[in-house]
Amino acid sequence: MTGAELLIELLAKHGVKDVFGYPGGAIMPIYDALYGAPVKHYLTRHEQAAGFSAIGYTRSTGKLGVCFATSGPGATNLVTAIADAMMDSIPLLAITGQVPTAAIGSDAFQEVDVLGISLAITKHSYLVERAEDLAEILQEAIHVATSGRPGPVLVDIPKDIQLAQVSFKPWLAADDYQPEVNLNEVAKANELLKEAKMPVAYVGGGVHAADAQKKLMAFLNETSMPAVSTLKALGSVLPDYEYDLGMLGMHGGQAANLAVQKCDLLVCIGARFDDRVTGNLSKFASNAKIIHLDIDAAEVGKRKPAEASLIADLHDSLPLLAHPQTDGSWLTHMKSMMVKHAWRYDYPGEKVFAPYLLNKLSQTMPSNGVVCCDVGQHQMWVAQHMKFNSPRNHLSSGGAGTMGFGLPAAIGVQVARPDDFVITVSGDGSIMMNIQELATIRRNNLPVKILVIDNQRLGMVRQWQQMFFEERYSETILSDNPDFVALAAVFGIKGQTITKASEVDDAIQALVDSKGPYILHACIDEQENVWPLVPPGAANDQMVTEVK
């Protein structure tokens, strides 16, 4: 068996059915081994897209996501997707071809020090230096990517090692360090829970990573504790939960932000006090004691100290928390805040109102449908106005905020979940960043839906220019956009453009009913802004809801 064959066999052994990638000289033996193999390869039209498709694949299923690229430019094209996976703790395995061992360090054709590049953007990375190490390294790589706090792992394999004769050696994870819950901390946490009069649960992406939604909901249902979610947590708190306050932070809802600012106990469940969540950190939840649950010890006390910390898998730590019933007067207050600050969809104009459109989409699409977002105002509107019943159904580039994420991620999701409704909600800026992936949709007849919310602007940046840069609209006007429906038609994708509020309901129905891929191009007012907004440096209760 060659090294290349071993790789494919090992992936198959680990249940990997699909991989995404792009061939080239230094990875040709691996592509040769793929030919007729039980692992199906999806050719994307850019390596970055292969990375995002693999991320979509893993985020929507919990299965390992795998992408392939050749040496040099192939590998550097993966960088953004790997960095995205790093910021969002996604188990991604990136396999790159490398020039032959003897040529490394000679500035050979398409040689780049990929191991060097990988240091800042991976959980761990390897350059395979000896053929006899390959089997062990690959198994360890899969283990590292998927265990503890997940993350991307890169394995750079020189061409001669792909061609070398190797044998399979089983590898057993060395006694893995499993953080054990510290019972003193549990006692402290439970004391805090019992004393609290105004607690709030602050739910993060850790719930998705640990696949701990059931345990989370058990805790919430028993305590009735009001819950706020980070962008990555959306879907973790079930939509019918009575005290689901939605997203907090820079574009969070008023009820969510005000609840956190007022609470006397914040139970942080797999979140990391990101700056987009906290606003001015010193004024964030400043009346609250903090219980922090995370599998990564380095997150506890990184941005904000905790009175009690449970460093463990949420599966183990969540059930150890006491569940006192939350004070009735706090819950009554929450209810009134939720009513007072409920989203409004009664838009006066005749144009398409994006929040209404997305809310309509949320109500019309199948409940197990998946939304893959791009980055910008449209992404925040999705987070605010759509409901999800699982974090696997809302995929957004959170930590990195990478434009171009949506379309290739949706392709990966559709490959993993062929029978589910999958849509990317994108902007007129973002969609162009990986537009070449329409070819991947066509090649594989994937029924991916595309919603482009077109404000003829890099809207999120334009909003900041309007608010904080004296309306100097430097390089954010996209009034020369292509005709998106015509562009999709070139790839055999049907669709339509709408411009008026009165067209929204029928257009959403047509999109949801469409059998194959479909594009809905919705033109909105270029002046629309995302509200509320916490200005940079302000506390989260200083939300702005209009341009002054």
Partner: protein, 81 residues
Amino acid sequence: MKHQLKVEVKNQSVAVERFLRVVRHRGFSLLQLQLEVVDDKYFVNMTVDSDRPIHLLTLQLAKLIDVHQVELAEQHHQQAI
């Protein structure tokens, strides 16, 4: 504030690159560095300086797959991993 750290890492030059990158990126400057190979490991003694609390560095170093142990010399505080 200055801190002296003892770090035990896998005997591979990339392991050294990896943890030095973390030292820099997390906001610590390197004042002194000594590296010694014993058996199949690197033993690293280093002095770092920063305004930031040292746990922000030690916890990040302890997470690295190649790092076997991080010891904060002055406080004789060990984090086995």
